[in-house]
């Protein structure tokens, strides 16, 4: 009898443990929205979302510069990081011998483990230094003077590109390995070269998995805070939308929250939570796309 009672109690405890995740997600959603929504009602959705001035001391809370900054830096980071990550994945799955893979894979694991502040510190000196000498030197006549400090979208994008590499590499590897061996064997038997069967067969077959990898990389880049703060310059202004914008100091949504939460008054805090809501919505949209892709891949596999 005692054992049955114990069994029941254990089961209840385990269920509670499992349900903690659901409970946490709900709480996070509720609290971020509850704190951030009032400001949208007070100043109007469009004024907050598309207002291009962020000046909390005068109660002006336009987060458009941060939205543009975030999208710009994420786009450039993925433009660099995605091809590179996919390339490394192809190398590891198809080309490298086992000994080489065994040195590269731990290196990738380690890249994933390095704290973002360490990336930030590296970026603050090494990457920013190189970009500053470029923007003061050869580009000095073209760029406006406030674009020459090296603290820039490009610096942040380069650091982010490195930081999203492990995500993209690992998930692309899984996607490539999931392609049935027979495809490749059949293709090679028909006399195509190894490289031809990689890009005509393997890559298309692994497409949805690789897209998932890139989207998760986008999510990581969007959400990264500390490394970005340390190199992006944090100016809450819309960067130039041509190539010179690469050298513009900007501010991401994440940086906006982290920089100002410490000293914000009540209404200012709400505006920062509102920034969090926008970020949250971005992530939800991305996650839904991933879920859709995963589901489609599963259904595709069942056919």
């Amino acid at each position: 009898m005692n054992r049955i009672l114990e069994e029941k109690i254990v089961k209840i405890f385990l269920f509670a443990a499992a349900f903690t995740a659901v409970f946490s997600v709900l709480l996070i959603g509720i609290f971020v929205f509850m704190e951030g929504l009032p400001i949208f009602f007070k100043y109007g959705l469009t004024d907050i979302l598309f207002g291009s001035v962020w000046n909390p001391t005068n109660q002006v809370y336009g987060i458009w510069p941060m939205i543009v900054g975030t999208i710009y830096v994420t786009f450039v980071a993925v433009l660099i990081g995605a091809p590179m990550g996919i390339g490394v994945a192809i190398y590891l799955v198809e080309i490298a011998n086992e000994r080489i893979s065994k040195t590269i894979i731990p290196a990738v694991e380690l890249l994933a483990g390095i704290p973002s502040v360490v990336y930030g510190l590296f970026g603050m000196f090494a990457v920013r230094g190189v970009i500053a000498s470029l923007s003061r030197g050869p580009l000095g006549d073209v760029l406006p003077s406030n674009y020459q400090s090296g603290y820039s979208i490009l610096a942040a994008a380069i650091i982010l590109a490195i930081m999203i590499l492990p995500t993209i590499i690992n998930i692309s590897i899984d996607a490539l390995r999931a392609v049935p061996r027979e495809y490749k064997e059949g293709s090679l038997a028909l006399g195509t070269s190894h490289w031809q069967s990689i890009y005509k067969l393997l890559l298309p077959a692994a497409k949805s998995g690789i897209i998932t990898a890139v989207i998760l990389g986008v999510g990581r880049a969007l959400g990264e805070t500390m490394a970005v703060i340390m190199v992006i310059g944090n100016t809450p202004a819309v960067p130039a939308l041509d190539w010179t914008g690469l050298f513009a100091p900007a501010r991401s949504m994440t940086a906006n929250i982290a920089l100002e939460m410490g000293y914000a008054g009540p209404e200012h805090q709400q505006a920062l939570f509102a920034t969090g809501i926008v970020l949250f919505v971005f992530i939800i949209v991305l996650n839904s796309i991933t879920q859709l892709l995963v589901r489609r891949r599963r259904e595709g596999g069942a056919k």
């Binding site: 054992r3 049955i4 114990e6 069994e7 089961k11 443990a17 499992a18 903690t20 995740a21 659901v22 946490s24 997600v25 996070i28 609290f31 971020v32 509850m34 704190e35 590179m84 490394v88 190398y91 590891l92 080309i95 490298a96 040195t103 290196a107 694991e109 380690l110 890249l111 483990g113 390095i114 704290p115 973002s116 502040v117 360490v118 510190l121 590296f122 000196f125 090494a126 490195i162 590499i169 070269s193 190894h194 490289w195 031809q196 999510g219 969007l222 959400g223 990264e224 805070t225 500390m226 340390m230 994440t254 929250i257 982290a258 939460m261 920062l272 969090g276 970020l279 992530i283 996650n287």
Partner: protein, 280 residues
């Protein structure tokens, strides 16, 4: 055919270069930090108190803060995470509730850490201030628990799945209850995998900064209890680099962090290899 061969050679050379570049980037980052920071590390740097807002002196309070935070977070997160994995893997089959739990776990893994920070600030720091003491190790730990939960659940579930069913069936056939089987047999067998997940989570807590910036308070004093504010090594690095401007301390702290992460990665892969050895 020669054109095909040439294309292949060019493509393969390019991909090999990318692979080598990845390793080079890692080495460059580590070398860059170590060259400027490793000489800073000394007994005095590790075990004395900071002076002048961290611009001089040591990093001892940040080390104590990191240890406190890691321990508290893991003591709460490990039982919950492993419990969740046991429930998902041993007690239910696929259904609406497990789907919901899985979905929530995935969603937690995708939420940016600064959003965890916002939540922790609004919920633990402000609303539950009478219980948590406001900005404190406890508030930061509870925030940290929600962040590391997906990692622990996922790795523990994989470890449990790797335990062969024959073990479960054999034990149940001897008349033990389900929980006795799990406690006495399944959990010990899956332990290396579970520990791998916990070690990886410790790495996550050590490396996390954004969420703790909003929940831990950043005090430079040595914390006396869970209800005191504190700072971790990562937070200390950020604050001395961005606010105090003491770059030598920042690089020294970064070197300590890299050494910690190296140790954690070695430990995790050691346990992981033991798990694989056990079931092959």
């Amino acid at each position: 055919m020669s054109k095909v061969n040439r294309n292949q050679n060019i493509a393969f050379a390019f991909f090999s270069a990318l692979g080598i570049l990845t390793v080079c980037i890692l080495l460059l980052i580590i070398a860059y930090i170590f060259v400027q920071g490793i000489t800073k590390i000394s007994f005095d740097f590790l075990f004395s108190n900071p002076r002048k807002m961290g611009a001089e002196g040591g990093i001892f309070p940040a080390i104590v803060g990191t240890i406190y935070l890691v321990l508290t977070t893991m003591i709460i997160a490990a039982p919950i995470g492993v419990g969740a994995a046991i429930y998902l893997n041993e007690y239910t089959s696929r259904g609406r509730i497990t789907d919901m739990i899985r979905f929530a776990t995935e969603a937690l893994a995708g939420i940016p850490s600064i959003v965890f920070g916002l939540f922790g600030f609004a919920f633990f720091v402000i609303l539950l201030k009478p219980i948590t003491g406001g900005w404190s190790i406890l508030s930061a730990s509870l925030t940290g628990v929600t962040m590391v939960l997906p990692t622990i659940v996922r790795t523990a579930e994989e470890a449990l799945k790797a335990v062969p069913d024959s073990l479960r069936e054999g034990s149940l056939a001897l008349g033990t209850t389900k929980w006795q089987t799990i406690k006495g047999l399944i959990l010990p067998a899956a332990m290396p995998g579970i520990i791998t997940g916990i070690i990886l989570s410790i790495g996550r807590v050590i490396g996390e900064t954004a969420a703790f910036l909003l929940t831990l308070g950043g005090s430079l004093l040595i914390p006396q209890s869970l209800f005191d504010g504190s700072r971790t090594l990562s937070l200390h690095l950020y604050m001395v680099a961005m606010e105090t401007g003491a770059m030598d301390v920042a690089f020294g702290t970064a070197s300590v962090l890299i050494i910690l992460i190296l140790l954690i990665n070695f430990a995790a892969s050691w346990f992981f290899r033991r798990l694989i050895k056990r079931f092959s």
